[in-house]
Structures are given as structure tokens and as C-alpha cells.
């Protein structure tokens, strides 16, 4: 069996392990290890790699941004900024048809600017917005679906943990990816607002009304969210302006949100310990996947599968757009089963060489960044697609009175908006690239 054969057979083997419920990081690690063993005829090389590889992966300076962003997200939650954001958004949007749900989307977008995680955004905003939505007579399904979709803004709007991983995998500039994500993120928020406005017109009984608030109060509430803006500008602006490295930017953000949480009295001993424990679980999970992916991708590269695949796709003369379309659809389907980071670590090393080898009329860097944003969007759709969208579960766990079926039905409207947005961004790469060119 040639190295290429081993590489090709490893793909179904890996998928089989994953579908048998072996944790994804472990599955990639074991498959990569076994593959290296088979290719080299001895486990010694793989064993020797392990002497330094765990340490070097876990001490990777670029990756250290991930746990720091996670910690920042928890501090942002503790800092009470979610309430301030929701209040400000409610003042401006609340009195419209479906306005309170729109306000939840607005607040999620704001929170996404200081939090790089979808689930944290969904969970935090649900705590604030679900009671309000119930007060104003919003139906269960639209409330939970709004927050599940709004949660994805946490990762679509920079900073974003998924983009950090993509940047490291493809050796792209993190700052440029963050900047490129801004317009698509805002477009996502706009799309969700439109979805709500359509939904409440189709099902008028699903939304209540709220009285108008005077402009003076609206501006007062809006001013109250200045710390969010400050942290966002400091982190994303600072990284992009070259004032500090992405890791330093994350540290500034964590320190900033930590300070806000401390000033607002949210940072108690027990809440701090809780933040450490959740950060620990998430970081350990992510780094173990990164470790497994490192092993697996190292083995794949040795077996020449990615290079061969990219040469094959180009030589077949497929239209670049067909290839892109197939890849995006593949992500949408896989996203119904698998979490976003695992999907990216598993597939980007194979798809990325294919995509950059194709001609979309863009420079290689533009193609890489544009593809990164598209992948980010389609994998995030997976968070809200039934049956296993994680955001749906998180919110369902917080809102027991709404049957999952109702959430599923309403969330399909948001999924539709995601798909339309993906099509728009595919058709007009400049929406993504305008800020970096």
C-alpha cells in the first residue's frame, strides 16, 4: 500500500471513529498516529514527535490567544454589559413590530464585538433577553430561535476564536481576517432583523407590543455602552494598527472586560472560579483537537493527499464556483453533525489548497481571506441547524417551557437568511474584502 493509499483510506476510518462517538480530537490523534506508523513501518517516529509536540502545540504563542479570548468572553458576561446593550437596543428598536426580538439581535451583535464565542453570547444574552421577551408577549419559538441565531453573531463579529484557528491553519493575517469579518457580521445582524420583521407579519400573534421611549432616554442608554465600544476598538483596532500582536490584543481585551466586571461588582471570588473552570474545559477541549489535528494533518501532508487532491481538482477543469459550491454545501451538511472548530481543523487542510489553486479572479491572499469568512459563516450555521445545533440546546436548557419543535420551526427562517447571505457574499467578494484592500 502506498503512502497515498494509506492517506486516502484514513479519511473513512477517521469519519467512522468520529461517528462512533470517539471524541474528535482523540479520533484525529489516533488516526494520525496509526497512519504515521503504517507509512513509516514503525511507531518510533510518531513516538519521537510526541516528546516535544504536545509542549510545542500547547505553548504556541499564536494559539494562546484562544484561552485568553475565552476568558475575555466570561469577563464580558460578568461585567453586566449584556444588560446595558440590551437596554440600549430595546430603546431604539423595542416599539417596532417584533422590536424586542430585534433588540435581542442588536444586543447580541454588540456583545459579539467583545466576545469571540457563540455559545457564550447565546447563553449570556438569553439570560437577559428571554424574560423580557416573555414579558412583552413574544411566543416561545421566535424568542429561542432569535437568541440561538443572535448567538452566532458572537463568532461572526470579530473577535472570533474560529477565525484565529483558521488564520493559524492557513498562515493568514489574523487582523485582516477580523477586519474582513466586520461587514459580513453586520450583514448577518441585518438579515436577522429582516427575518424577525417578516416572521411577526406572518405570525402576528407571536409578538407583543412595547411602548415608545423618549429620545433623551434612548441616547442615555446608548451612551452607557461606551465600554463595549472602547474594548472593541482597542482590541481589533490595536491588532490591525500593528500596535500589538493578536495575543497582546486579546490580553488587553481580557484585562479591559475584567476591569469592567470588577468595577460593576460582577467579579466575585465564586464567579471568577467559575470562569476559570469553564475556560479550562473549553480550552482543554480545543487544544486537544488542535493536537489531534496537528498529528492527523502532519500524516496527511506526508501521504500527499492534500496536494494530490488539489492537483486533481484543478486538472479536472471544474469551474471554481462549482467546487466552492460543493465545499460550502458539504460544510452545511457536516455542520448538522459536528461542531465548528473540529470541522475547520479537519477539513481546511484539505480544502484550502484546493481553493487557493483555483482562479476566482482574486489575489491568493484575497481568496484565502474570503474563503475563511465563507467557511466561518457556513460552519456557524451548524450551530443553529436541527438536530444537533449547540446554540439550540443551550437555549432550550434555559427555556424549558418552549418545546424544541417550536424552536426548530422558527429557527429555519434564520437558517434561510444565513444561506441567502452566504450566496450574496459568494457573488460579491468585495463586501468581505473592501476593508482590507
Amino acid at each position: 500500500m502506498s503512502a497515498l493509499d494509506i492517506g486516502l483510506y484514513s479519511l473513512p476510518a477517521l469519519l467512522a471513529l468520529i461517528f462512533l462517538r470517539v471524541p474528535i480530537g482523540l479520533a484525529m490523534f489516533v488516526t494520525g498516529f496509526a497512519g504515521l506508523w503504517l507509512i513509516q513501518g514503525t511507531p518510533n517516529v510518531a513516538m519521537a514527535r510526541l516528546k516535544s509536540e504536545t509542549f510545542s502545540q500547547f505553548s504556541n504563542y499564536s494559539l494562546s490567544i484562544v484561552p485568553i479570548f475565552l476568558l475575555m468572553g466570561h469577563f464580558a458576561t460578568l461585567g453586566g454589559m449584556s444588560q446595558a446593550l440590551f437596554k440600549a437596543a430595546e430603546g431604539w428598536l423595542g416599539h417596532r413590530k417584533g422590536g424586542v426580538a430585534m433588540a435581542a439581535i442588536g444586543a447580541c451583535a454588540g456583545f459579539g464585538a467583545i466576545c469571540g464565542s457563540s455559545l457564550a453570547t447565546a447563553a449570556t444574552m438569553s439570560r437577559v433577553a428571554l424574560p423580557e421577551l416573555r414579558n412583552y408577549g413574544y411566543a416561545g419559538g421566535i424568542s429561542t430561535a432569535t437568541l440561538a441565531a443572535g448567538g452566532t453573531l458572537g463568532i461572526l463579529i470579530p473577535p472570533s476564536v474560529v477565525l484565529v484557528i483558521y488564520a493559524i491553519l492557513t498562515e493568514q493575517n489574523i487582523a485582516k481576517l477580523f477586519l474582513a469579518a466586520i461587514f459580513p457580521g453586520l450583514l448577518a445582524a441585518l438579515g436577522y432583523l429582516i427575518v424577525i420583521s417578516i416572521y411577526v407579519r406572518l405570525y402576528p400573534e407571536s409578538a407583543g407590543t412595547k411602548e415608545r421611549i423618549p429620545y433623551r432616554d434612548r441616547f442615555r442608554d446608548l451612551v452607557a455602552v461606551w465600554p463595549v465600544l472602547l474594548v472593541f476598538v482597542a482590541v481589533v483596532g490595536g491588532i490591525y494598527g500593528g500596535i500589538f500582536t493578536p495575543t497582546e490584543g486579546a490580553a488587553v481585551g481580557a484585562a479591559g472586560t475584567g476591569l469592567i466586571a470588577w468595577v460593576n461588582g460582577g467579579l466575585t471570588r465564586s464567579s471568577l472560579l467559575e470562569s476559570f473552570l469553564t475556560t479550562a474545559r473549553s480550552s482543554a477541549m480545543i487544544f486537544f483537537i488542535v493536537l489531534g489535528a496537528g498529528f492527523y494533518n502532519g500524516f496527511l501532508a506526508l501521504s500527499q493527499v492534500p496536494q494530490t487532491a488539489s492537483v486533481w481538482v484543478v486538472s479536472q477543469g471544474f469551474s471554481p464556483w462549482t467546487v466552492l459550491f460543493i465545499i460550502l454545501v458539504f460544510y452545511l451538511i457536516l455542520g448538522c453533525l459536528m461542531d465548528s472548530l473540529s470541522m475547520i481543523l479537519l477539513t481546511v487542510p484539505i480544502f484550502y489548497p484546493v481553493i487557493v489553486a483555483l482562479d476566482f479572479g482574486l489575489t491568493p491572499e484575497q481568496t484565502a481571506i474570503w474563503f475563511g469568512i465563507l467557511v466561518l459563516i457556513v460552519v456557524e450555521v451548524g450551530l443553529i441547524t436541527p438536530p444537533v445545533g449547540m446554540n439550540l440546546f443551550i437555549i432550550n436548557a434555559m427555556e424549558r417551557t418552549t418545546p424544541m419543535v417550536e424552536t426548530y420551526r422558527a429557527v429555519l427562517f434564520f437558517v434561510a437568511s444565513d444561506i441567502i447571505r452566504t450566496a450574496i457574499l459568494v457573488a460579491f467578494p468585495m463586501i468581505t474584502l473592501v476593508l482590507i484592500s
Binding site: 489516533v30 505553548s59 472560579l273 479550562a280 474545559r281 473549553s282 482543554a284
Partner: protein, 194 residues
Amino acid sequence: MTVFFRRIAQTMSVLGGVVLSLVVAITVLSIIGRTGNSVMHSAFAQTNFAPLAQWLLDIGLGPIKGDFELVEAMMAFAIFAFLPLAQMTGAHASVDIFTAWLPRRAQLVQRILIEALFAVVLVVIALQLKEGMDSKLRSGQTTFILGYPLWWAYAASLCGAVVAAVVAVYMALVRVTEGVTGRILIADEMGADH
């Protein structure tokens, strides 16, 4: 026993969290120092309050030397320290939709196999990290700027790796017990987020 291991896993995680916070603090202080240093060197500072600027520079206003190396060593410690808790609470991402319909017996067996595989992998990782540490100890390799021996960082990481391996073995034994008695002892918590 479970309480004991959980306590240890949580303690390691909190230690890791404290170290992570130190990473944040060191990084921010280094940025402040670096910015302050260039401000004090600026023409404005040198013409308007030269003595103060000079004094600040003399007492060492500047970036923290080797902050980059400190961050890397501390991060490795933190991540290894986070592993035991992830192990105990079933935080690792997996796809369970295809196996949820399996009969209960099969699921119990499956849990044993997976946890045993995880234990083997984590034990191998800890053993190889120890090998890696020994080779750094022998070679006497030091870091570039601060010049501390690299094996120190390995040794710190090894603490977490060993605890993770022990916890993983314990969890495998727990799953075996569950398989034999048919009673779930440690349920998985909701998957970790990111």
C-alpha cells in the same frame, strides 16, 4: 474517590486559570511599559519634562524582558493543567447522533472502549513528555532571551500531563465499573463551548 479526583482536577484548572490571568497581566504590563518607554523617549517628553522622563527610563520603564518566552511556558502549563477537568467532565467534543440509538449495553461497552483509548493516549503523552523533558535536561537547552533552562517549562507542563493521565485511567476504571454494574456513576456534563 470521585470527589477526590474531581477536587484535584478543579484545583489544577483554577491554578491554570490563575496562570492564564498572570499571562494577561504580564502582557498588558509589557505593553504599558513599551508604550511608556517610547513616550518618554519622544521629543515632547525630552524637551518638556526631561528629568522625570529620564528617571522613569532609569528605573526600567519598558517592555518586560522575554515576556514572549514567559507567556509560552505559562500557556503550556495552563493547558496541561486544564486537561484533567475536561477528562472528568466529558468536555471533549464528539458526535453522538449516530450512536444514541444503540442498546444500553452497547453504549456502556462503547464508553469503556473510548475512555480506555483516551487513557492509553494520555499516559503515552505524559511518558513521552517526560522523555522530552529528560532530553532537554541532558542538552541543557535554555531559552533565547531569559536564558532559563527549557526543561523547567517541560517540568511544569508534566504536572498537568501526569494528573491528566491518572484521571484518565481512573475514568476508564469508572466506565468499566459502570459496564459491570450497569449503573452510571459519572454522567457527562453539557459539552464545552468555544
